[in-house]
């Protein structure tokens, strides 16, 4: 009977260990988001400038991170940084670093998209009253782009949280890795433990991501209502 296995979660400190793993997951997700979003806004603004070379280089950066699956990105940095550049990082920090670069790439496209969606007359009015380029971005474009890009940014955050699940592949002690240890250690007493451990991890991810995507959806709806009445 499958339901007899639920006790595996209450055995010893199994549940506390899973929560500890979850904390590692959350820490990596939010640290990489914090760094990645800041860098992404900067790159997104740069991508609206006229300089062709700059735009080309940033476009290549975006396309590379967009085309290569995140699992592969992770392994690229995992193998190449230490072997080619002699640059050793603990798995947690390496993961944060890779995720931050990935978030920055995705965010740069969101920011660019929002900036060019601000109505043209806003930009022209700003120029007409003599704002400098810095003032134009600071007081006109970025504040208006912010509300346009917020839902996409929250959705990006939910994607980052979900993608942390692949960190177990480079042996980060995240919630899934701990879960596998718990399953193996208790396999003898709880042969059905696998169902409950993966079940609770499933639930953990849902409980973190669902409120975020609910918020994003509400903002999107408001945006649509403003547009279409």
């Amino acid at each position: 009977m499958a339901h007899s296995g639920i006790n595996v979660l209450l055995e010893g400190d199994n549940f506390i260990r899973l929560l500890g793993g979850l904390w590692v997951t959350i820490k990596i997700a939010f640290t990489s988001l914090a760094f990645g979003l800041v860098l992404g806004v900067l790159l997104g603004v740069l991508r609206t400038f006229k300089n062709r070379l700059l735009r080309f280089v940033l476009r290549i950066y975006l396309e590379f991170f967009r085309v290569v699956p995140t699992v592969v990105l992770l392994f690229l940095f995992y193998y190449i940084l230490p072997r080619q550049l002699n640059f050793n990082l603990p798995a947690n920090e390496l993961a944060t670093f890779v995720f931050a670069l990935w978030v920055a790439a995705e965010m740069s496209d969101i920011v660019r998209g929002a900036l060019i969606s601000v109505p043209k007359h806003q930009q022209e009015s700003g120029k007409a009253i003599g704002l400098s380029r810095w003032q134009l971005y600071r007081y006109v474009l970025i504040p208006q782009a912010f509300s346009l890009e917020l839902p996409a940014t929250i959705n990006l955050a939910t994607r980052v949280i979900k993608t942390t699940s692949i960190l177990m592949l480079i042996s980060v002690m995240d919630v899934i890795n701990i879960g596998q240890q718990v399953i193996e250690a208790n396999n003898h007493t709880y042969p059905n433990g696998v169902f409950w451990v993966y079940g609770i991890i499933f639930l953990f991810y849902f409980l973190i991501d669902y409120p975020l995507s609910w918020w994003a959806r509400r903002l999107e709806k408001k945006g649509l209502e403003r547009e279409n009445g």
Partner: protein, 219 residues
Amino acid sequence: MSWPIIQQSLPMFAKGFELTLWLSFIGILGSIIVGIVVSMVRLFKIPVLHQLASIYVEVSRNTPLLIQLFFLYYAFPVIGIKLGAELSGIIGLIFLGGSYMAEGFSGGFNGVPKSQVESGKAIGLSRFQLARFVIFPQGFSKSVPALAANIIFLIKETSIFTVIAIPELTNTALDLIGMYYRSNEYLFVLVVAYAIILIPLSVILTYLEKRVRYGTFGN
């Protein structure tokens, strides 16, 4: 970087390439079918099914594919359902992709301006006629960029199949690295292989986004 090593690995990568394409194709096709069904159920607000569809979309979108696969592959046998690795992969991908496609279609349908829907009602169209002649023609074209983005997303997600040892591209590369310790060569081939699949799609996506943007903003 040594070319002979790359050359020797190519037949194995070719197999992985084929499998990635095949699994992506089945997964995307299944996702589009599930997506259409779910978005119709939501559009027509069919009782009970409508609520079930919402629960499905939320669960599928807010959990990682990796844990969905673990559940299908490792936990389902406990309750007596044994799926092979590839079948688990395909079911997982369709479970995930179905909700993304449904959101893509729904997004397009909801993007049809209210004035259009109200005009349709005003000239006396039935609910079915409204969907057939007003919402679908405008909604589908609006949802095309989202669908294209989902296709790219789903192909990339097949790389996660490596965790249940399906010998697709990523798994092939990781296996070879594990056996011969030549990470540069194998990772290089791996990135090139994904680029061959995804760059053309990414170019098409950019073009489609421009087209739809042109239709909406005129610039």
